[in-house]
């Protein structure tokens, strides 16, 4: 049997509104995934380090202010660390113009307010599967 998907739910930057990330973390856990949850204000290096050490498939970033503007930097850092296969999703208040930039930078999906927990679980689980298929073989 496949081990369950491993998801890092976190927030980078300066904002601290974490109602959404807490609810999503609980919903993913209830859906059978293994969730690594952090408090807000993580820096990019910490997130990359956690993603590597915890061997996560998907990183979920909550952004209620403008912290998603830092996500392209996170994408670069993941690439530099050889973690391109890890899928990144962003949830929260993300204006349309910014969403385009995030998708261009390699973000898999942006969840806006009103997304149901069911929708998020299904998509995150699918992305985790993709990430595993893309992950380099460990020899």
């Amino acid at each position: 049997m496949q081990p369950p998907p491993r998801i890092l739910v976190t927030k980078i930057g300066l904002d601290g509104h974490d109602r959404g990330s807490r609810i999503v973390a609980t919903a993913l856990r209830d859906a059978g995934m293994e969730v690594i949850y952090t408090p807000p204000w993580q820096d990019i290096e910490t997130v990359v380090g956690l993603a590597r050490d915890e061997d996560v498939d998907v990183i979920g970033i909550g952004s209620l202010a403008t912290d998603h503007l830092l996500v392209p930097k996170l994408m670069d850092a993941l690439k530099d660390a050889g973690l391109d296969h890890v899928c990144v999703v962003v949830g929260g208040i993300v204006p349309e113009v910014d969403e385009r930039d995030l998708l261009t930078a390699g973000v898999s999906r942006v969840f806006h307010p009103g997304s149901s927990m069911q929708e998020i679980s299904v998509e995150v689980s699918r992305l985790a599967q993709c990430a595993r298929e893309q992950a380099p073989e460990i020899i």
Partner: protein, 570 residues
């Protein structure tokens, strides 16, 4: 505690239940008709978990105790309002949040508002400021996107350039250690404005709400934050008598997921904690209670919010009078600012949010608020645009001057439903407060994560009601209109060149100040933090006057008191 009479409410939980009387009364005939047409229905509950009947009558509330339960506005128990004239005399302060870009941007918008007749303003700093940093300590792309970047006395001066700060009521989002007020006092000193004419409110003074809910504002470890708040209250009572040093915040907790009853309970328990801390510091309750203010969220659950505010007023008045035995009649006034709830707004079909905000605002007005912020409909899309902010202001103008909402004081008073609900909300609120007391008061309860767990559970339960469709959200789980494209918000972001100019200004400020004065002020601040006999906030103000920056003051106190790490219960 003001006695409420609830024995009349016994039969409430069974809308379809039999009537206690045997002869056929009008009520029984109605009940039969009702049951025939509706069939057996699931009980309806409000957000706080109170079962709501389809109709209320004199069996639920008969008015026989109205003298003690309600009284008249401005009199104990203040259920109907805290002033004799309420909105007939003076409506409410129309206080919109402003803060954007660099000080010059803030100043331009502020002067525009003052020109349009506004006398109460707000100051919302950048998230970097909230986290306790100067502009040169954070990623530049985040600067000025959510609030104004200000770190020094020069920045504060620039924010209020050509604005008379004397008697201008300024609400500052200024968490512990209250550096913004310190910078404002430094500007007043520079301009020769006496501190007695500096008026306004420290909006974000409630560190407990930051520890629990709005983590962004939490800067100093719990014991340090506790110490600084009491010193701040002591300092302003003595030196800045027109300032409200404390705003106890229920808004963060309700936005984080607490039910309206829980949010009110947590707020009142927090206020009790602060009052006890002030008394332990030797402050006079007759003096400090009149300076306590409150800040709440208004959800779209209209009658529940009205009842929440009425019950809150009544509980607070009795706490001040009975528990703290305060004689000053001003002390029991439950003055509150309220903000319409952003959590109720939707990204789908966002113009609908204008209707939501108006509905929430009506609930707050009928609940007897003193000050109101109406959200912009586009807050779920981005930081509000100027056009949307204008609609939010006009929503208040319409409600105040077109809708006849202010003609009568406490217009829902005496309604069987609202009075019964006010009593039931009071019971819910006091039962949560009793639980907090059982934990040894609010400080201990939040240290142990009790409050955080309750909020998390309520947030999850509400989300499940939306996901299951039990709670309708128009455009989200019902009445979706795919043809309505989400409008692209007109994003206003500060040009990167303006931010780099501002960073250069900060660098020059740091170079040109008297370095030995700065060092001395920081030493004295650190010393005061470790001495029980000194007022540490007085040293924060001295430091601001000496040219110490916001980030330096916070860093110093973080070293002395410990960094504030909120307790997060996932």
């Amino acid at each position: 505690m003001a006695k409420i009479h609830t024995e009349k409410n016994k039969a409430i939980d069974r809308p379809g239940g039999p009537s206690p009387q045997s002869s056929t009364t009008a009520k029984e005939r109605w009940q039969r008709e009702y049951n025939k047409q509706i069939g057996s229905t699931e009980p309806v509950y409000n957000r706080s978990g109170v079962a709501i009947k389809p109709i209320y009558d004199r069996h639920d509330w008969d008015g026989s105790h109205s003298d003690t339960e309600l009284g008249y506005p401005g009199q104990s128990p203040m259920t109907r309002g805290i002033y004799p004239t309420m909105h007939r005399g003076r409506t409410w302060s129309q206080r919109q949040l402003i803060g954007f870009g660099i000080p010059a941007d803030y100043n331009a918008r502020l002067r525009g508002l003052i020109k349009s007749g506004v006398s109460a303003v707000s100051l919302i700093p950048c998230n970097s400021v909230y986290r306790g940093f100067d502009a040169d300590q954070v990623p530049a792309e985040l600067l000025g996107t959510c609030g104004v970047v200000l770190n020094t006395v020069d920045d504060m001066d620039a924010c209020f350039e050509q604005v008379d700060i004397a008697d201008l009521s300024t609400a500052q989002n200024d968490p512990s250690p209250f550096t913004l007020l310190a910078l404002l006092l430094a500007v007043a000193k520079r301009r020769g404005v006496p501190w007695s004419r500096v008026t306004g409110t420290s909006n974000q003074s409630d560190y407990i709400s930051h520890f629990v809910a709005n983590h962004m504002f939490f800067r100093l470890a719990l014991p340090g934050a506790r110490r600084v708040l009491v010193d701040h209250i002591a300092f302003t009572l003595e030196h800045v008598p027109g300032w409200n040093p404390l705003s106890v915040v229920g808004q963060h907790m309700q936005q984080a997921g607490a039910t309206p009853a829980e949010a009110m309970a947590f707020t009142l328990s927090t206020a009790i904690q602060y009052a006890r801390d002030c008394i332990n510091r030797g402050l006079d309750p007759e003096q400090f209670f009149p300076r306590f203010t409150f800040f709440f969220d208004i959800s779209i659950s209209v009658f529940e919010e009205v009842a929440k505010f009425r019950a809150g007023r009544r509980i607070w008045e009795s706490i001040v009078r009975e528990q703290f035995e305060v004689k000053n009649p001003r002390a029991g006034r439950f003055k509150f600012h309220a903000q319409t709830s952003g959590v109720d707004l939707t990204r789908q079909q966002p113009l609908n949010n204008i209707a939501r905000v108006a509905t929430q605002a009506i609930a707050g007005i009928l609940g007897g608020l003193q000050s109101l912020h109406t959200d912009s409909y586009d807050e779920v899309l981005s930081v509000p645009t100027e056009q949307a902010a204008r609609i939010a202001i006009d929503t208040q103008n319409i409600l105040r001057e077109e809708a006849h909402l202010t003609d009568v004081i406490d217009p829902l008073g005496g309604s069987y439903y609202v009075e019964s609900l006010t009593n039931q909300m009071q019971e819910k609120i006091t039962s949560v407060m009793d639980r907090i007391e059982g934990c040894g008061g609010m400080y201990n309860a939040v240290q142990n994560g009790v409050v955080q767990t309750m909020i998390g559970e309520s947030a999850l339960a509400f989300q499940q009601r939306i996901d299951s469709g039990e709670q309708t959200l128009v455009g989200v789980n019902r009445y979706q209109d795919e043809s309505q494209a989400t409008p692209t918000a007109g994003l206003e972001r500060t040009a990167p060149e303006r931010i780099s100019t501002h960073l250069q200004t900060l660098e020059r400020f740091k170079e040109n100040r008297n370095q030995s004065t700065v060092r001395k002020a920081l030493d004295q601040l650190a010393h005061a933090a470790n001495s029980d006999s000194e007022n540490v906030y007085a040293k924060v103000v001295d430091a601001a006057v000496a040219g110490v920056t916001h980030g330096e003051i916070v860093a110093c106190l973080r070293r002395e008191f410990g960094d504030g790490a909120p307790l997060i219960v996932p």
